[in-house]
Subunit: 327 residues, 2 copies
């Protein structure tokens, strides 16, 4: 399959938007940016065996490649608009490509983001996406906006994706034992690893509420640490308040569960800070969005992330960031 | 070297622009697009051993990764503005990264394009760039705008990069013989392969002159074929008019030289069509830009590219597109 056939196969399936002047098929795409918006641009690449297990279904690879970028837009409070796809494939596999596009375009359709261009190359399987979103001028959420005394919140539940990797034997899990894989709720956890749900609607609503935001890709301790260093503050996290899925609680003892929640990667949830005066607004957003939003701590003096358990005793995870697994 | 050190190493070296609200270091970058401009977006990825020989100097890899994208912007008549870089590297090599950035940022500086974000991953060497440019609304050059009777022009000289690959023994050269490598001007040809000069200034000026444009990455016959199919016309090329560098003429017999000019890839020159009434404008642009612009044929009825030699006898290259070499 030559590059042009590949591109034609992709072009025949994508949707468009009224603000796309020229989509797939020329040297570049052309779009119209509204005069009253700033442009938000992010890019993330997934390599096979590094960012997803080699046995990941092509639908899920397509989904995840877009999801991790939509998660970055969500963390900025941006409305998704357009994306490009850079696809490196080792050989011709139309069935693989169709399933990949099924996943990519299913998520794109949910968020109204148009695939407007890209390129295809021969090489090890790698998927690069650049996503574009729109924000009102000066309103993009940043990592450096946290203020002393802010509440720290996270969306969804934490640690599920890392737990899936532990159960699959794909992660360097250290002392974490996942128990019997057959008895554990691997399917639910694997779903969290393979099909993260970018919190786009929550991010959009947070523009009016949050002081700072980041998406959780490398693990809470690591990513919240970026908020701390960018804001010149510390974070005090109540580890027993970290939200856990039923699957995670069922599959892991409390200590291991907390380590996964505090440091496991690939959650693609949002972590944000907001003043205590905004608690009612956040609670209202929780109801309105149908997404769990949990208060997990507060911004304090200092420079880093510290944890306390339910007895206010210091607690630290065994690791502060999850190094990507390798197959 | 962790990803954050890599990113810091990059961030410490990049320039900025007044329209960059937020550059490298958050979940995404934020920029301001002027209200009187449309946004042009292109993306191209280079894989080691596929898009450049494995022995390519890191400076040249950085240069070329940006150059091929600036060439796409040039073909649209767009003013370069911002770019992102997705860099996959097999291991830690700060010296390699510094040289790579030397090349990337040297070319970025020449064209005033700011590196505003990206990501770094562990994996086989691969460089993905997404470039953004600006055009006046409705003025972007497209492949499909050629009109019957238009002159066909190309910038620079053709076939040099493919000739370098032939001399290096990297291309499936078929019947083409490059002669004695030591005696041939490989250094000059290799420079064309490794450091293509994107024709940005020419592209900007062509907005007021050309009906259609494309950049030559896969070879004239192949790329001009896209102009034909998009415009619903044929192209008649006078093969003896194709511009050749002194190095190419010195290193190859006439027949082989013509095949390289007609079908060799990696030229990153512009091919454009303009009405005969615009010849004086194109000649003036040649003087003003200091870039050779050569009239090589005209748009005719039909659907594809055909060639004639100086005696008006039909001529076709042995191949119509150069498949990328492999190391």
């Amino acid at each position: 399959m030559a590059e042009f056939d590949l591109i034609e196969r992709i072009r025949s399936r994508v949707g468009s938007r009224a603000d796309v002047v020229l989509g797939i098929g020329d040297d570049a795409a052309v779009v119209r940016v509204p005069a009253d918006r700033e442009l938000v641009i992010c890019t993330d690449t997934l390599n096979a065996g590094v960012h997803f297990p080699l046995d990941t279904a092509p639908f899920d690879i397509g989904w995840k490649a877009l999801a991790v970028n939509l998660s970055d837009l969500a963390a900025m409070g941006a409305q998704p608009a357009w994306c490009t796809l850079s696809l490196s494939m080792p050989g011709d596999d139309p069935a693989w490509l169709d399933s990949f596009l099924d996943g990519f375009l299913a998520l794109a359709g949910q968020h109204g983001i148009a695939l407007i261009g890209g390129d295809t190359t021969r090489g090890p399987l790698s998927i690069g996406v650049t996503a574009h979103g729109l924000v009102e001028p000066g309103r993009a959420l940043q990592r450096g906006g946290a203020q002393m005394g802010d509440d720290i919140w996270v969306s969804g539940t934490l640690g599920d994706a890392a737990a899936a990797l532990v159960l699959m034997g794909k992660a360097d899990a250290g002392a974490i034992a996942g128990g019997d894989t057959n008895a554990s709720p691997l399917a639910e956890l694997r779903e969290r690893l393979d099909r993260p749900q970018p919190r786009v609607a929550v991010g959009l609503a947070l523009v009016a509420v949050a002081h700072a935001a980041i998406d959780l890709s490398d693990g809470l301790w690591s990513d919240l640490g970026h908020v701390c260093s960018a804001s010149g503050l510390g974070a005090l996290v109540e580890v027993d308040a970290l939200p856990a899925s039923a699957s995670l609680s069922q599959g892991f003892a409390a200590d291991d569960r907390r380590t996964l929640q505090a440091s496991g990667g690939d959650d693609y949830e949002l972590c944000f800070t907001a003043p205590p005066s905004a608690r009612a607004q956040v609670e209202a957003l929780k109801l309105q969005s149908g997404t769990a939003l949990t208060r997990i701590g507060r911004m304090v003096a200092g420079t880093q992330v510290a944890g306390v358990d339910a007895d206010d005793a210091p607690w630290e995870p065994e690791r502060t960031g999850w190094v990507h697994f390798s197959d």
